[in-house]
C-alpha cells in the first residue's frame, strides 16, 4: 500500500474570501520532490481529497503549498479544511503524484484557467519562468476580488497573463478567440469547472487541434454514477466470487480478498488498475481506455459491473 506523510500545517493564509492557502511541512523528514502540475492527496475524515501544489518545484523549501476553495460545510473536504484545520495541526498526506505534467517537447505553453483551476498553473508558470521557457496564461474569474493569486500573477507574470472578468458571454467569446490560430509547438492546458473545460475542448475540436496537444486536469472520474449498485464478480483464474457493495470500488473489493491489483490515480486517468473482462456488462467511468479497449477491459478504480461479471484474474 502507498505510504503517507505526517505533515504539520505551518501557515494558513486568506487568498480570497472563499479561498485559503495552506502550507504543510515536516521538521522530521525531507519532503519528496515534485514536478510542476503535481498534486497531493490529503487523508481527511470524510475521505481522500486531491489538491494541486502551487509552489515552484525548483524552489521547494521542504513545504507543500495548496489553495482550497470552500465549496462545502465542514462535512465536506474543503469546508473541513477551512473550518476545522488550524496552524500547528497534523495531517496525513500522500506523496505527490503528477497526472498533469508539462510537456517537455512544447515550444510554447498556453494555460486556460477558470476560478480555483488556476492552482496547477501557478506552479507551472513559476517553473517555466525559472527555466526560461515560453508560456502565456488566460484566466477567467468572476471578478478581481474573487480571483485567487491575482496579485501574485500580476507581480510575477504580468506580461504573460490575460484576465477575463467580464460577463459570461463576452468571456466565452474572448477565451475562444484566444484559443484560435495556434501554431505547431504549442501545447494547451485547461483547468477549471466542467462547463468551462467543455466549452474550450469543444472549440479546440472545432479548430481541429489533435487531442495530443490539449491537456486537462481531472480530479474526478470522467463519468460519475449517481446511484451505484452492488454487483457480483467471478475471478476465472483464481476461482473466487465476491460482491462489490454500492459504496465500494471494485479495486477496494479486490484488495479486500487479497487480490492485489496495482493502482495509482483512483480517478480513471492513469490506467494502472486495468483488468481484462471475460464476460458481462460494465459501466465505464474512466477517461483512459479507448472505445475499442473498453470492449474487453475495465479500470477497477472507477468502473462498475452490472449484475454479474467475470474477470480474467
Amino acid at each position: 500500500m502507498a505510504y503517507t506523510l505526517q505533515l504539520t500545517v505551518k501557515k494558513i493564509e486568506h487568498e480570497t474570501d472563499t479561498i485559503k492557502k495552506f502550507t504543510f511541512t515536516s521538521d522530521e523528514i525531507p519532503l519528496p520532490p515534485f514536478g510542476a502540475g503535481a498534486h497531493v492527496t490529503l487523508h481527511l475524515p470524510m475521505g481522500k481529497r486531491q489538491y494541486s501544489l502551487v509552489n515552484n518545484p525548483l524552489e521547494m523549501k521542504n513545504e507543500y503549498v495548496i489553495a482550497v476553495k470552500k465549496i462545502s460545510d465542514h462535512n465536506g473536504g474543503s469546508g473541513y479544511l477551512h473550518e476545522c484545520i488550524g496552524q500547528g495541526d497534523n495531517i496525513s498526506v500522500s506523496p505527490p503524484d503528477n497526472f498533469f505534467p508539462l510537456r517537455t517537447e512544447a515550444k510554447h505553453h498556453v494555460f486556460f484557467a477558470a476560478g480555483i483551476g488556476i492552482t496547477p498553473f501557478v506552479s507551472m508558470m513559476a517553473y517555466l519562468k525559472t527555466i526560461g521557457r515560453s508560456f502565456e496564461l488566460h484566466y477567467a474569474a468572476s471578478g478581481e476580488r474573487e480571483c485567487a493569486f491575482h496579485r501574485h500573477i500580476q507581480n510575477h507574470f504580468r506580461s504573460k497573463s490575460t484576465f477575463y472578468f467580464m460577463k459570461r458571454e463576452e468571456k466565452i467569446a474572448k477565451l475562444k478567440k484566444a484559443l484560435q490560430n495556434r501554431t505547431m509547438g504549442t501545447h494547451i492546458y485547461l483547468c477549471g469547472p466542467p462547463a468551462f473545460m467543455d466549452i474550450l475542448l469543444e472549440h479546440s475540436h472545432k479548430l481541429r487541434y489533435p487531442e495530443k496537444f490539449i491537456h486537462e486536469e481531472q480530479f474526478q472520474p470522467a463519468v460519475l454514477i449517481e446511484n451505484p449498485q452492488p454487483f457480483f464478480v467471478n475471478l476465472v483464474k483464481t476461482k473466487k466470487t465476491f460482491m462489490v457493495s454500492s459504496g465500494q470500488t471494485l479495486l477496494d473489493a479486490l484488495h479486500e480478498i487479497d487480490i492485489y491489483v496495482p493502482y495509482t490515480c483512483r480517478m480513471g486517468v492513469c490506467g494502472t488498475c486495468e483488468v481484462e473482462i471475460e464476460e458481462g456488462d460494465v459501466v465505464h467511468c474512466d477517461s483512459f481506455l479507448t472505445e475499442e479497449e473498453k470492449v474487453g477491459n475495465m479500470l477497477t478504480c472507477v468502473s462498475r459491473g452490472i449484475g454479474h461479471i467475470k474477470l480474467r484474474l
Partner: protein, 141 residues
Amino acid sequence: MRPILILSEVRFKKDGLKEKELQKENGSSVELKLIDSPVDRKKIEQILKDKPLGTMLILYTGGAARKRIRRAANSAGFSHEDVRIGKMDTGTYCIFCSQCHRINRTASLEKSIICISCGQHLEPSNHYSSFQDAYLGYPIL
C-alpha cells in the same frame, strides 16, 4: 482532418503531386512545397515557421535532406510522429546490417543480400528506422 504540408525535392515532384491529390481526396487542406537540393536549412525553417497547430509534415526527399528537415521540424515544434516519410520509388533501398551496422544498398526488399562490410547474409525486413533511414536486415544463420 489535419492540415498537411508536403515537402518534396524537385526530383520527387511527381510523388509529391500524387500525395497532394490523395490527401485532397481525403478532405485535408494540403500545401505542397518544392525544394531544391541540397536543402537550405534557413529556407526550410522559414517554410515550417508558424504552421497551424496539428499540421502533419510529409517528406519526399533523399536521406540527407530528410535528416536536415527533421531537425528543423523538431525545432519548429513538430514531434517525431508529426513527420511522415512518403513512399517513393527511388530504385534503391537501404538495409541496416544487424551485425556490423553498415548500411547496404539494394534494388529490392524481396531478395536477401550479403553485407558488403562483414559478409553476413541478411534478409531485408519491413522494419524501417527513421533514425538510420534504412530497413533492418535480419541475419540469416
